[in-house]
Amino acid sequence: MQPLARAYEHSVPEHPIDGGLFGPGSVVWRVHRDRSFPLAAIRSLMVQALHPLAMAGVAQHSTWQRDPFGRLAATAGYVLTVTYGDTAAAEGAAARVRAVHTHVRGTDPVTGLAYRAEDPELLLWVHAGMVDSIVQVVQRYGRSLGPADADRYVAEMTRFAEILGVPADRIPASVAALREYLESVDLRQITPAASEAIAIVLDPPGLDAPTRDLWHDLGQVAVGTLPAWARSMYGFAEPPAELMQRDPVRQLIGALDFAFESLPGVIEARERIELRTRT
């Protein structure tokens, strides 16, 4: 978890020049520091992997299997910088991602289709998978996020996709529109690359036995929050209802978050966010 803690520490600036793309009063600021975020991250990956071209881009151009937590930390760092960094930091981070994307192109072996990471359709898919997962998970296991705030969150997050090159008019701006979009993507399917990737996400290397048990539970809960179509593509059974109850899941998240907060810099970063939202 150390790389994640460092991402946290470095992405939340001590002396920001401005409020960034969203600002301390935004729903984005409130939602993105929810403790249920690890669960949302796992669900995001599971949804995102079901687009064969998005998955092929990752599988063919990333070495994430060797260091899944390092890769996760990089993504988390990006999300946190775009959220809490000042405008310059957010735009700088987006520019770096776009520069990397120009090199990510190839052909998906399953569908035989060519892909490029700059393709707004792929960027939109990845964006929608993430935003939908955050809404689902935070509404169910996080701090209160009512339907109106959830819609506001999705609308605010359109900016997040825009800076990576998705045309504004293509980005769903409500929870319902987001879901409708996700279910309209016909290419959705499970590929060997996706199965392989999610197997690693659910059972990452290098964890000691008790931590692995905790992570497995978290993965099961993430499976339980997937839309039915995604769960059936993976062939996952629906987890037992008692595993999905709010109290025990929050306890699980709380225990992991306790360990996370113990790492240097995390509490301080959270306090910086909290203090800025209060003034």
Binding site: R143, P210, P248, R250, Q251, S262, L263, P264, R278
Partner: protein
């Protein structure tokens, strides 16, 4: 436990006369100003709603902080990250906002604190594990410390400690090699008790009554008419904190250490009870060996059956030099499985370490290194006896106190003839006073004869 106001006032007046204002300042206003530790609290991050509280301390966080605190006494190998986490999280625990604290007082006492008290400090001066402490002056002019519990914390903690499966996994990850089953069971029970301030008030009242008039041990009186399950009001005491005492002369530190040691022995052998939290913040020091003991949220009562094998163990090992008898009493207490295929020498070697301060009749200096060596040897989960030994649930808290105590006395670098002091309390010896403090105690004990009552709460 409810006394008439006149009776309590008279008792307090007697106390004030006897101690000459050593514990309580003469003017409540003065003491109001003197207890000042506010700088440590992060008021700008104050929790503003019950929902904030649950987010910050619910979902296992409060329970894990407590567990970590307990385990930190007993596990040398506790990973450094976890250890520093404890310190960080405790240091960063935000207080309640004045409005939130005030609403708890109103819910519990029926009116806002400004109406209940003639003076109420809206900002807390100290953090408590599941609440915070405010200074106030009662309508009849007494300076009091009002402990206010975080709203909603009781429900979430009770629910958290019921999730034993998760607690076991977390502790297994945090403390590899340590058998934490009995620790978790004990933690659950203690935390369920700790959220009920009425129980703490009852325990504190028991200790305060027993130690009434004691020459060096002071327990603040509870103001029961201003105490409920979530608000605990007791006499406000001013004194020096533990970290200040570390700068005092060695003589003063020795006296302070002796008093803490006497408090533990006397409470165990005479009241059959232990105040379970040897946290440095739970003491106030007044010089001349006088110590005020705070926080009775983790009090454990022992039955005669709990204590008998421990008393036997010390008698056989230290006084009668009978290793077989020592081993048999450990087996009776459940520390060692009967018939374990290990030599009695090994048993003495492992368990005897706990008695090393009282083995010889001579002055001995406790150091931090000594304290941690004891802890390390006692809780060596990989030693030859490990498969056959356990800490029975009745004694988990006793271990915790003992080890925490060693750490505390060790950091004072305290020197005393611990053996002679202990002999004063061992029921099979009832030794004579061995120090000036012991003589003062003996005089106190004599003066309170006749008002002696049974303090065995478990009978």
């Amino acid at each position: 436990m409810r006394e008439s106001r006149l009776g309590r006032g008279a008792a307090l007046a007697r106390l004030a006369l006897r101690i000459g204002g050593r514990y309580a300042a003469r003017s409540p206003q003065l003491i109001f100003a003197s207890v000042e530790r506010r700088g440590e609290l992060r008021h700008e991050l104050a929790l503003r709603t019950a929902d904030d509280v649950v987010e910050e301390l619910g979902s296992m966080k409060g329970a894990l902080m407590k567990l970590g605190q307990m385990a930190s006494y007993i596990d040398e190998d506790m990973p450094q990250t976890f250890r520093s986490a404890m310190g960080r999280l405790q240091h960063h625990a935000p207080p309640m906002s004045p409005e939130l604290a005030s609403s708890v007082v109103e819910d519990e006492l029926g009116a806002p604190p400004e109406q209940i008290f003639s003076r109420w400090d809206p900002l807390p001066f100290a953090a408590a594990s599941i609440g915070q402490v405010h200074k106030a002056i009662t309508a009849d002019g007494r300076a009091v410390a009002v402990k206010v519990q975080y709203p909603g914390i009781a429900r979430t903690i009770v629910s958290d400690v019921q999730n034993v499966a998760l607690l076991r996994r977390v502790t297994a990850a945090a403390f590899p090699g340590l058998d934490t089953r009995s620790l978790i069971d004990e933690l659950g029970e203690r935390l369920r008790e700790e959220v009920d301030y009425l129980l703490e008030a009852e325990n504190q009242t028991l200790f305060a009554a027993y130690y009434e008039g004691h020459p060096v041990i002071h327990v603040p009186h509870v103001v029961s008419e201003l105490s409920t399950a979530r608000v605990l009001t007791s006499e406000l005491v001013a004194g020096s904190r533990f970290d200040e005492v570390l700068l005092w002369s060695q003589h003063e530190r020795n006296l302070a250490a002796e008093t803490i040691n006497r408090f533990v022995s006397r409470s165990l052998y005479r009241i059959h009870a232990f105040n379970g939290d040897p946290h440095p913040g739970n003491y106030l020091f007044h010089g001349g060996g006088r110590v005020t003991f705070l926080d009775f949220g983790l009090t454990k009562h022992f039955s005669d059956q709990d204590l008998a094998p421990l008393i036997d163990a010390v008698r056989f090992l230290v006084v009668e030099n009978d290793p077989d008898g020592f081993r048999a009493s450990l087996e009776r207490a459940g520390f060692l499985r009967p018939g374990a295929p290990v030599s009695t020498e090994a048993v003495v070697d492992r368990f005897g370490v706990f008695y090393s301060t009282v083995l010889r009749d001579e002055p001995m200096t406790l150091t931090p290194a000594y304290a941690s060596a004891i802890v390390r040897r006692f809780f060596d989960a990989r030693g030859p006896l490990a498969p056959y030994s356990d800490v029975p649930r009745a004694y988990v808290i006793l271990q915790r106190i003992n080890l925490g105590l060693y750490a505390l006395l060790g950091s004072l670098h305290a020197t005393a003839n611990w053996r002679r002091i202990s002999e004063e309390f061992w029921p099979f010896l009832n030794g004579p006073p061995s120090t000036p403090t012991g003589e003062a105690e003996a005089r106190w004990e004599k003066s309170r004869n006749g008002q002696e009552q049974s303090f065995d709460r478990t009978a």
